[in-house]
């Protein structure tokens, strides 16, 4: 069992989660050697490195991090997306720590509504298709 970063993280530039994660190489970014990023722009948790300490969860300004068994159904596909970082570790690098302006609570709510409305058959499906081609 591990923690999972859901799509609520996408395009966020705050890495407060990485600043508290005690395990190096646990919270990672997708940076493939060929420079062609086939995965969404977000952070990922390597399930084979995560120690379930929960330190990252309250740090996320977008409330995007969940224990694997508590991931909302609408974001269920993100569990597999995070697992890619364990299957293909050479394509991922440890997230660089930098702080940003925290979002307001109404922005956090709007982000949740956006992705919940998009549903499970959103961008993730496209990404998984692309992954199958590789």
């Amino acid at each position: 069992m591990a923690y999972v970063i859901t799509r609520l993280c996408r395009d966020c530039i705050d890495t407060a989660c990485a600043s508290v994660c005690p395990c190096p190489d646990c919270i990672v970014e997708h940076r493939p050697p060929d420079g062609v990023a086939a995965l969404p722009n977000q952070l990922y948790i390597r399930p084979d490195v995560c120690i379930d300490c929960s330190a990252c969860e309250p740090e996320c300004p977008w409330e995007a991090i969940f224990p694997e068994d508590e991931v909302p159904a609408v974001f269920a596909a993100d569990v597999a997306l995070n697992a890619i970082s364990a299957a293909r570790p050479k394509e991922f690098v440890e997230a660089t720590v930098h702080q940003s302006m925290k979002p307001r609570s109404d922005e956090v709510d709007a982000n949740k509504r956006k992705w919940e409305a998009a549903g499970d058959a959103s961008e993730t499906g496209v990404v998984e298709d692309r992954l199958l081609v590789r």
């Binding site: 069992m1 600043s19 508290v20 994660c21 005690p22 395990c23 190096p24 190489d25 490195v49 120690i51 379930d52 300490c53 929960s54 330190a55 740090e59």
Partner: protein, 133 residues
């Protein structure tokens, strides 16, 4: 693998007492045994790699909080643990074991390399304390 490595070694002949020679002949891994004994006697075995030339463990395995029923880690504790994990990596440790303290907040920890315990201590709030091993 080992037989290939034998070609890279130099043959050395030496005299030993008859009983020692008999015992030596019964060993299945004579070269490794003599090499280990010599290195140990000369005190030149690298303690980190144990003479292998490469560290044996690629990463440090840290106790899983859920499996170990450990209490949640707060921000200060996480930052302390992060430093400890990095230190453990620098020591080529294989394992970092955490245990909840029974009568105080925080964790007791032990840093292992194989069967050896390298460090012990306590991690509480924003303080890490090391104990003589």
């Amino acid at each position: 693998m080992y037989s290939i490595m034998l070609y890279m070694k130099t043959r050395v002949t030496f005299r030993v007492a008859r009983d020692l020679a008999r015992s030596l002949r019964e060993l299945p891994n004579q070269t490794a045994f003599v090499e280990d004994a010599l290195r140990s006697a000369l005190g030149r075995t690298c303690p980190t790699c144990e003479g292998a030339g490469r560290t044996r463990w690629a990463s440090v395995a840290v106790s899983d909080f859920k499996e170990g029923a450990l209490p949640r880690l707060d921000r200060d504790g996480a930052v302390q643990l992060k430093s400890l994990v990095r230190l453990s990596r620098g020591l080529a440790a294989s394992r970092l074991d955490l245990a909840a303290r029974s009568e105080a907040p925080g964790f007791d920890f032990a840093v292992h390399r194989g069967r050896d315990v390298l460090l012990r201590g306590t991690l509480a709030g924003n303080t890490t304390t090391f104990r003589p091993n």
